[in-house]
Subunit: 249 residues, 2 copies
């Protein structure tokens, strides 16, 4: 099994590449349009063919590369069925594994950051999207976000996984790459220890975060599986422009 | 493959259990005498037979369970050949993998914390002992410790592993469980980034750490693969007394 953790610096997004050496097939979890060429180069270098792109949710901070990858290399688009995206080839549901030539991922519905948010389990790892970040979690004030739902998703579903399960989030802003369920249970300041739902609600209601600068472009684009808006203001152009370098995580 | 990260709270030591479901055989990396019964219970619960105990180095802060495990369940004692322990059944050397019914670990000589210190590579993980801790490293002022050697071991040998390699240290004192080579390259304040050997030497020469409280008992005991000293002072008795609870990592 081949595993790569790739990094997109503008939105601090981790894209995960999982490949099967025997079949030569691969999937990408949360690919970003700005680093699409880098990801394709990585697949090519590893001798892998992209079978599926898999998104954890409708992202608000970047545009998924799902549609452009499909156009470029014929990959299928997998996304949570909950969001009923017309552009998706397959809708993922909890209890229904996605199997691609040697790779099986198990979807877990983990609402709270968005209502349709999914995490994916694979081989002792959980790709937690924005539901559970290392010592943090995604915000709950857009896209039907719900602090109570996120508390339930993390504490009753993700924290119920074996302690050694590796936590691979969709983002990190402090150069952390990996955690474990045991570690987040102990150290997550928002959701770990014996924190109550009232205390978590209070934290999430008082984050005072700025309005997400790219959300008005990202959400409509991602509802179409990754369409870049036309006439993007120059200060946001990097979100859709291909990077010429190969920033690695 | 079965993997468990177990924790001994008195010396904050992680013991790692690796088991093969098909053959039913297991190894323990750095088992601690105080949590030996807990580890045996875990093996029993998992239906595994302990084939080998494997130590990363001559520990100064706890006593290895290697000898007592051998007496209890007939496991073999594997330890760095460098230390020439008469009590060891097999001496591990770099370039010579240890294979136990489905489990292969690759020894890497990583001197600096002690002269004979080894790390072990297994399936995308590196068990780094006290050479590389999460955002830290072991001290270099005992047992032929050598800051220059540790700098070389970590930066030129461990940091040369693939970025995604999971780092599992022998200790953590802040409830962290796992890191990755990429993460330590970026975030380790002693050994990461572009730190020079002079700067690292300076850090290690100025730690001003207290004399290790158990070293005078631990090192002689571990040179015999884990013999508890007689007449241990009451304040240190816990190091050799079996824990009645089952503290999990």
């Amino acid at each position: 099994m081949i595993f790569r953790q790739l990094y997109e610096p503008l939105s601090s997004t981790y894209t995960y590449l999982i490949g099967d050496e025997d079949t030569g097939e691969a999937i990408l979890i949360d690919p970003v349009i700005a680093t699409m060429d880098r990801d394709l180069a990585e697949l090519h270098k590893l001798g892998l063919k992209l079978a599926y792109t898999v998104d954890t949710h409708i992202h608000a901070d970047h545009i998924t590369a799902a549609l452009e990858m499909k156009r470029a290399v014929g990959s299928q688009i997998a996304a949570p069925a909950y969001d009923r995206l017309e552009c998706a080839d397959i809708g993922l549901e909890e209890g229904v594994p996605l199997t691609v030539a040697g790779i099986t991922i198990d979807p877990l519905h983990t609402p709270g950051h968005t209502a349709g948010h999914f995490a994916y389990l694979f081989d002792g790892r959980v790709f937690t999207g924005d539901a559970l970040l290392i010592e943090g979690c995604g915000r709950t004030d857009f896209q039907n976000g719900d602090a109570d739902a996120l508390y339930d998703s993390v504490r009753n579903k993700l924290f119920a996984l074996p302690d050694e399960t590796l936590v691979y989030p969709a983002h990190d802003y402090k150069e952390r790459f990996v955690s474990s369920i045991a570690q987040e249970k102990k150290r997550n300041p928002r959701l770990g220890g014996d924190i109550s739902i009232e205390a978590f609600r209070d934290i999430m209601n008082n984050l005072n975060l700025p309005y997400p600068k790219f959300i008005d472009h990202a959400v409509p684009g991602n509802l179409q599986c990754g369409v870049c808006p036309k006439d993007l203001p120059e200060n946001l152009a990097g979100y859709c422009r291909q990077m010429t370098q190969s920033p690695q995580g």
